[in-house]
Amino acid sequence: MIPFALRRLLQAAPVLAGVSLAVFFMIHLIPGDPARLYAGLEASREDVENVRRALGLDEALPVQYGRFLGRFVTGDLGRSLKTGRPVGEEIAARYASTAFLAVLAIASAIALGAATGVVAAVWRRTAVDHAALLVSLLGLSLPPFFLGLVLMLFFSVQLGWLPLAGNATWRHAVLPAVTLALPAAAVISRMVRGSLVEVMEQDYIRTARAKGLTEWVVVNAHAVRNALIPVVTVVGLQLGYLLGGAVVTETVFSWPGIGRLIVQAIAARDFPVVQAAVLLLAVTFVGINLLTDMLYAVLDPRIRLE
């Protein structure tokens, strides 16, 4: 498995190079001059040109890109155009906030989604199943800003149990994590149900039942594991999205995550930050995909990673 992982990581290099090139040139295609945006409308032409030189934006694009790559491979991400702070610092703190929330959200989503999914599959086509479907649909369709505000009004304003916004303590993370977890849980729940229903109709399940095993053992020991492969794929994708930062949820709950950072950086044409953040997200996705693939092999020994 180790050589497989190494090979996959090597294969990721051209993907990342492609991403960086695409992001670099895409962001330069958007109208808007970063030096002017930074200096402000009222800045004199000399000030803007001075800033352009100071930020190294006066050179040809390929030169700028080469310079970026050169620094990148030595681990230097440069400084934010907008704040002058080192990009690495800027992104690390935001990514940590986002990752904390994402892990919390995905863990809750898995617990909630798996539980409702299994229940719905075992009691399929009953009232329980229909109720689970309804709740999932709701979880998927509520826009996060609405869900977030409703949760805030109820748990913070009415009941006063949790703080409204910020990220000082773990209690601050509860509501945003729930806001993010509900739609993810809905997807996972539907996937678990579908996959489990399919497995439950297979011959080996009938055999297990014929052996006289209790339904509990049949479901948990025999069916669930085989039903997990598509679920793992979905969980991986959801985690990837969550790690990319959830702009709306971060905004509603004043969570200093990477989603907000990227949106602000794009608005300011803050290339170094956009560049580094998008690359980081690409790495995240590659990493998650790799983990997902490796998990397949763990779950199903018939799958060989070559």
């Binding site: 002017r36 402000g40 409308l41 004043s254 907000r260």
Partner: protein, 508 residues
């Protein structure tokens, strides 16, 4: 120094009255004030500040040589006295004695010189180098006296020194830290930086050896809460003490709440519909006047802004010293407007585009839509275009692409020279109207060199009247600043240049 405004009681919202702090309640020391703001500070280096929210944080840590009071008079800051030479070229400033920076470095003439030399040095890369460009030379006369020389007589010199970009920084720290000064600022101000987690919170602690009256508060926490609704909820729940930029739609909600008050203060910012004076059809004065008669500012302030903001006809907010008083908006008269359009050959109406920013000024998008509807009544069909700020400014700066736009202008220094030069002088950096009038240009240059205050006022008045007649832009409203606060908070100072200070604030 700055006017102190008390919280107006919430139920008296409809009035603009601002009552003075009652003398009965004595200030109490201690505690942390939490201030929720929509945007984070970008830097704590004064020489790199380009926006208001950043300036608010920076100016708790740093101070300028002089300040401007609400009447537009210069008041002492780190400089306690000043004089200008007979040839009006050399300004001599006497500095306050016994002032130290947060790192212990004494504040003296040398630190003034080094601060000014730093921003003027192109290698520093300040986006606001031009703030100091009038200063040709800074010279240390003695430990507590500094002489600043300009190339030409420069009337707004002292006003210029009130700019946040020219706040004093510790030369020791600036030399040692370079770019990292942005996160480790060392000023002379009433508060010092304690910690900063970008995007989340910035914590300031009382400067125990502050030279002036010591702050009452132990700490001030600037919290970033981007969502308007969240800020209001946090204030109502008591999670924060003060919130910035209350949206007009939320005023009712705050008015009905106990323990919460609303603070309203006039501002220097004008929001206007700019017309490109060099592009058809707005190159014709009759068409520009037709637009002025079609737009109904009163209806916009009442209907869209819920009564927030003031109405007027002059391009400069009446809150700025030197602004011409008594310029009413052009009379709302659709019939006259149509007549003017017909005279200009647009009897059948005309089509144009109105560019609006989103989220930059108070309800900007909605204001744009209201203007669009009012123009429609006189036969002007304006399509709304709302690109993001970067794209909008790039297009505006081309000066040929945008016929009509909604924009705003504030004034960090509160001196008309700054805004007139930027916005209405030929080739001015924010003259997106492409307005050019030789007489106006001449008068702008003249007022800059006229050091006699009364005479300068006369010239300024003439410039503004000329602009009023020629309608490079139609004024929609003058922005009003709205803060919300817990009733227990007192002594917040809001300045019309949009700065806010907690230096004298306290909590019951």
């Amino acid at each position: 120094m700055r006017t102190r405004l008390a919280w107006t009681v919430a139920f008296a919202l409809a009035s603009l009255a601002v009552a003075p702090v009652s003398a009965a309640s004595a200030p109490k020391a201690g505690g942390t004030l939490v201030y929720a703001t929509g945007t984070d500070a970008l830097t704590l280096d004064p020489q790199f500040v380009t926006d208001v929210p950043t300036a608010r944080a920076v100016m708790h840590i740093h101070e300028t040589l002089v300040y401007m009071d609400d009447e537009g008079k210069i008041a002492p800051g780190l400089a306690e006295a000043w004089s200008v030479s007979a040839d009006k070229l050399t300004w001599t400033l006497k500095l306050k004695k016994g002032v130290r920076f947060h790192d212990g470095t004494p504040f003296n003439a040398q630190s003034v010189k080094q601060t000014l030399d730093r921003i003027l040095n192109p290698a520093t890369g300040s986006p606001r180098r031009s703030t100091a460009e009038a200063i040709q030379q800074s010279r240390v006369v003695d430990e507590h006296t500094v002489a600043l020389t300009t190339g030409k007589p420069f009337a707004p010199f002292l006003a210029q020194l009130t700019a946040y970009n020219l706040a004093m920084l510790s030369p020791t720290a600036a030399d040692k830290l370079g770019k990292d000064y942005a996160t480790k600022p060392v000023g002379t101000g009433p508060f010092m930086l304690e910690s900063w987690k970008p995007g989340d919170r910035l914590v300031l602690a009382r400067n125990p050896s502050y030279w002036g009256p010591k702050p009452w508060l132990d700490r001030v926490e600037f919290r970033v809460v981007p969502e308007d609704g969240t800020r209001v909820l946090q204030l109502l729940a008591g999670e924060v003490d003060v919130i910035a930029s209350v949206p007009p739609i939320m005023l009712k909600r705050l008015a009905g709440a106990a323990d919460v008050r609303v603070l309203r203060a006039p501002g220097y910012r004008t929001v206007y519909v700019g017309l490109n004076n060099k592009v058809k059809p707005f190159d014709d004065l009759r068409v520009r006047r037709a637009v002025a008669h079609a737009v109904n500012p009163q209806a916009i302030v009442q209907g869209v802004l819920g009564g927030v903001g003031a109405v007027g006809g002059g391009l400069e907010s009446p809150a700025i010293g030197g602004a011409a008083k008594g310029l009413a908006p052009y009379r709302h008269d659709p019939t006259l407007s149509k007549k003017l359009l017909a005279e200009a050959g647009h009897a059948g109406g005309l089509k144009t585009k109105l560019y609006v920013p989103t989220g930059r000024y108070l309800m900007d998008r909605q204001v744009g839509e209201a203007v669009q509807a009012q123009l429609k009544e006189v036969g002007i069909t304006a399509e709304i275009v709302a690109p993001d700020w970067g794209a909008l400014t790039a297009a505006l700066n081309k000066l040929t692409e945008i016929p009509m736009f909604l924009m705003g202008k504030g004034s960090p220094t509160g001196d008309l020279d700054l805004t007139l030069t930027l916005v209405t002088q030929t080739g001015g950096r924010m003259n997106h109207f492409n307005y050019s009038n030789a007489e106006v240009d001449r008068l702008i240059a003249l007022q800059r060199q006229t050091t006699d205050a009364a005479e300068r006022q006369q010239i300024l008045r003439r410039i503004q009247e000329k602009l009023y007649e020629e309608v490079p832009a139609v004024v929609v409203f003058y922005e009003e600043q709205i803060y919300g606060g817990r009733a227990s908070v007192q002594g917040i100072e809001v300045h019309p240049n949009e700065s806010v200070s907690f230096a004298r604030a306290w909590k019951q």
